[in-house]
Amino acid sequence: MQWEVVIGLEIHVQLANKSKIFSGASTAYGAEPNTQACAVDMGLPGVLPVFNGGALRKSVMFGLAIDAQINERSVFDRKNYFYPDSPKAYQISQLYYPVVGKGSIDIDLENGSTKCIGVTRAHMEEDAGKSLHEDFHGQTGIDLNRAGTPLLEIVSEPDMRSAKEAVAYMRKIHSIVRYLGVSDGNMQEGSFRCDANVSLRPKGQEEFGTRTELKNINSFRFVEKAINVEIERQMDILESGGTITQETRLYDADKNETRSMRSKEEANDYRYFPDPDLLPIVISQEEIEQICTTLPELPDAKCKRFVTELGLSEKDARALTSDRDMADYFEQVQQSIDDARMAANWLLGEVSARLNKNALEIKDSPVNAEGLTGLLKRIKDNTISGKIAKDVFEAMWEEGGDADSIIESKGLKQITDTSAIEAIIDEVIVANPSQMEEFKAGKDKLIGFFVGQVMKASKGKANPGQVNQLLQKKLKS
């Protein structure tokens, strides 16, 4: 039996608003418990919600970025359920009339092609508080700081057919929201959370199979693993003639398996109805157009521009634009040294290698764009060679400091003085008589040997181009 995998993702994005979606309390991460939960966030008797216009703005920006329909009129509904992290015992969300309708994005597949993934809708809602499960003598502690943080829930069409596609989609959405400044997308802090709906169906069947929901997976790596492990689990069941139970499952990263969640609220009836404390949200065409003009350049457009205007390869352009911070870093360097190729090579080479090795994000790089610019400038103006630059870079990374001071303190300035180089060449020729003879006898390849010796004698500081040139002259004479 050939099985087809069907995956849909629901991504909850915390919007980068300063204040909550329905109150004026702060959304800053990491505060002491319940110090950023005002009366409204605590759901005290008599309080009322007031809607943050900034949340609307960011939601519309996202909708525009994915070419989605923006609904000029949307409504907040109450989703009723009892859970201690939900202080009003209802979550204010949007069911019937979401702010963003159908849209789509293109994802980049491994073979270089792109696939279009549909987005069904995106709606605004409020985040819940946090349950702290450290033991308080057999009780759970509730912190409502997070309650009321603005969320945008982005629902994809069930268009993905593999875990890799799911990750590519997730990365694309992540990139877009960060590009737009709609969210910081920080998965460790919970501002970007992904639920995956996974099902299998016999290839060729139109009807979807029963799906399970994998909840709260907070890294790209885990999404891929979780989905794959779930696909295997489902396939085992189906192949042995069983049926899939529709349920919510948690991914256990240590055991690399999914397990059924203790029923939070089995078969919950959320009794959605329009929230009578909030009026319909209306946004005019003019306002939407105004927001459109403020959109920054998006990853796909930037990638295209890097290829057509800066002459980068598509592969490099894609790698540089996948993350906004990376793209910004690149552009800052590129604009300063006016050499896209060099900037790209360094960023995708030296810098990325070290970031990956140390599991760092570009924003945490010890060498920032200014620093790298300073270094590359010295290559371009021949102060140092490209090879020496790598050493300088290592020093900048490990010990800090700017290129100039390191070059100075370690005496790494390139030797470009012709007579100085000639002097070294003379010494090398004298020190290697047999190779000299072989060369004179016709073994031209030995020029490489001599270049190497000169470089070694100069501790790498001699300008390689000049060495070559002068050696040629000397040897030929």
Binding site: S26, N34, L279
Partner: protein, 96 residues
């Protein structure tokens, strides 16, 4: 007309997390059935072309500027909470 029975009341009461004494359930079932009977009158009117009215006045939601206007008021807001510790509200252990 649909009559509500004991199990209906129990289901709805659970959805609402509302404790009802066993012996009172039949009375609630009767009360509810009577009320639902009364509201059946709404079906005497054709409302196919009528737009639902969620708010009595036509209005549009006001937008609040994205500013932080509330400061920490934890001591005051939690002063009379039934059970707290270390600045947290306490509930019976929640197992996920």
């Amino acid at each position: 007309m649909y009559t509500l029975d004991k199990s209906d009341v129990e289901k709805i009461a659970f959805l609402a997390r509302l404790g009802i004494d066993e012996q009172d359930i039949p009375e609630y079932a009767t009360n509810l059935t009577n009320i639902l009977d009364m509201v059946e009158q709404l079906n005497s009117v054709d409302t196919d072309d009528v737009k639902p009215m969620a708010h009595p006045l036509d209005g549009v939601q006001r937008l609040r500027p994205d500013e932080v206007t509330e400061t920490n008021d934890r001591e005051n807001l939690m002063a009379h909470a039934p059970e707290t510790e270390a600045g947290l509200f306490l509930v019976p252990r929640v197992v996920e």
